[in-house]
Amino acid sequence: MKQRPNVLAGALTPIWLLFMIIPVYVVTIGSFATPQSFRQGGPLSWPAVLTLDNYQTILTGKFPGYMLNTLVIALLTVGLNLLLALPATYAVVRGRSNGTRRIFRVILLGLAIPSQTVLIPLFWIIRSLGLYDSIWAIVLPQAAFGVPMTVLIVSSGMRSIVNELYDAMIVDGASVTQRFFRLALPLSKSPIATVSIFHFLGAWNSFLFPLIFTHSPGTTVMTVGLYNFIGAYDVDYTALFAAVILSATPLLLMYLFARRWLLAGLMGMSGR
């Protein structure tokens, strides 16, 4: 069918593109500028000299340690979340009792609990359990808050495994556990990958839990490191930009190479 050119979209797209690109441009260029040229020329001008000093400053400081903390916490969060939520998903999908169905409803209600509103009671629980300032103070609540999303996304995949496959395994004498590991899990690989990427993304970028539940350098994560940067009296903008770029690089690479999965994971938020 013949389509007339879409004038409105043609006009709006470049404007929006410019708006989206300006901050990316400022950060990228700024991270290679000297503080002097950045201050004199302003954020949009091309710097007189390009330098790697900012990256050197950041890489020789505490920031790589913060990034490592973040990586460890993100991986533990995803791992613990799957360890808890996958058997629960299996029980919800294959269980025959009404109890599991009720559990599913209660768990899904949790999708609506915004984590910011329970910061104070979580702080009390974390302190009472003696977890304050440990990585578990971040990992445990994050893994727990991710349970509904994992159950929701993986259950829709696991439910599309036909009964006949289970029946065949039962005839062969496979136990409930064997059916879980040999059938339910392998055939749910794709939603598991999606939800893992989603939780990794959330844990990598999380800020408020680490900010409130930890304080020492050994448990500081990248986002809190960035935040502490701007609290300093004399902010070194160009080094800060280098830190921002470094903090975003792993996810940007993931975004470029596993975009489909990543976006599918984010779409999970919208139900179907």
Binding site: A9, M20, I125, I212
Partner: protein
């Protein structure tokens, strides 16, 4: 393919007869127990605990002291609570007015067939993998009074380039950050929903001579109604509880003019160390967001259990 489906369906009917015997063979509730325990401890019980702490006097370090209704009785005296609700609602309504149209247009546009759109979308959806902290920090520096863009182009932005120094300027910056960092998420949701609209609706409309605008308003918008409702609920819950961006960019300023209720809760609890009073504010926010949550469950169908194979 259809033979296979037919075969599976008949096999399924036969299997149904023996289902009662299989009942004993399914996974027991025990499989869900660890998840339920951890989830309850860190997500459900806190909702009860926050009510308990609202009756306590607690500085976060020493043991909490029970003070009865004192915190609640003190509610009218919490400095700036009313003002914080007001600015929160202003920001909420403005954010929806900014982000919803942008997200809608972006999503519908991105759902189109042209190849080059994929390239644009890579850039448009990019903020979703960036942390809110990084986005906020970058915007804060870009809008800095001394070394930011407004200072470099004071002709456009007016005055001395101190955009964040006025309430209107600070609100505009917060709305711009929302458009930059949050609208793409809604764009992605609308793209997914728009792709699901049957092409034949558009073909039929085109035969009837409907133009592009007519098709957008008569087909696309009504078809996306459920998604729009859900996006608005997302934005409302986010607006009622989120405070990261404001905390980093304006710190509630200038002169508490962008101090929203969730940020007030955070400052009361973790900067002034009145965790009891902070809990009072938190309970109010949970009640407000909980009301929205009911809508959320109702419209999104999240509480229903439907198999992809149902009706096969």
């Amino acid at each position: 393919m259809s033979n296979l489906v037919a075969a599976l369906t008949s096999a399924r009917k036969k299997a149904r007869a023996g289902r009662s015997r299989q009942a004993a063979l399914g996974p027991s509730v025990m499989w869900a127990l660890p998840a339920v325990v951890v989830y309850a401890l860190f997500a459900l019980i806190p909702i009860l605990v926050v009510v308990v702490i609202s009756f306590m006097d607690w500085d976060g370090v020493r043991p909490p002291k029970f003070v009865g209704l004192a915190n609640w009785a003190n509610l009218p005296n919490i400095a700036f609570l009313g003002g914080s609700v007001q600015i929160m609602l202003i920001l909420l309504v403005c954010s929806i007015l900014v982000q919803l149209p942008i997200g809608l247009l972006m999503g519908v546009w991105a759902a189109g067939p042209q190849r080059n759109r994929a390239v644009f979308c890579t850039i448009f959806f990019l903020p979703m993998v960036l942390s809110g902290v990084a986005i906020s920090i970058v915007w804060r520096q870009i809008m800095d009074a001394n070394f930011g863009i407004p200072g470099q182009f004071s002709a456009i932005f007016g005055g001395n380039g101190n955009v964040l120094g006025s309430m209107e300027g600070a609100i505009m910056v917060l709305l711009a950050i929302g458009a930059w960092g949050s609208a793409p998420f809604f764009g992605l949701i609308f793209q997914g929903a728009a792709k699901g609209i049957p092409q034949m609706l558009y073909d039929a409309a085109a035969i009837d001579g409907a133009g592009r605008f007519r098709r957008f308003f008569s087909i696309t918008l009504p078809q996306l109604k459920a998604t729009i409702v859900m996006a608005v609920i997302f934005m409302v819950v986010g607006g009622l509880t989120g405070f990261e961006t404001i905390m980093i960019v304006t710190e509630g300023g200038p002169a508490r003019k962008t101090l929203t209720t969730p940020l007030l809760m955070y400052y009361t609890a973790f900067r002034d160390y009145h965790l009891g009073t902070g809990s009072v504010i938190a309970v109010l926010l949970i009640l407000a967001a909980g009301g929205i949550a009911v809508l959320f469950a109702k419209y999104s169908g999240f509480d229903k259990m439907e198999s992809d194979l149902e009706g096969m």
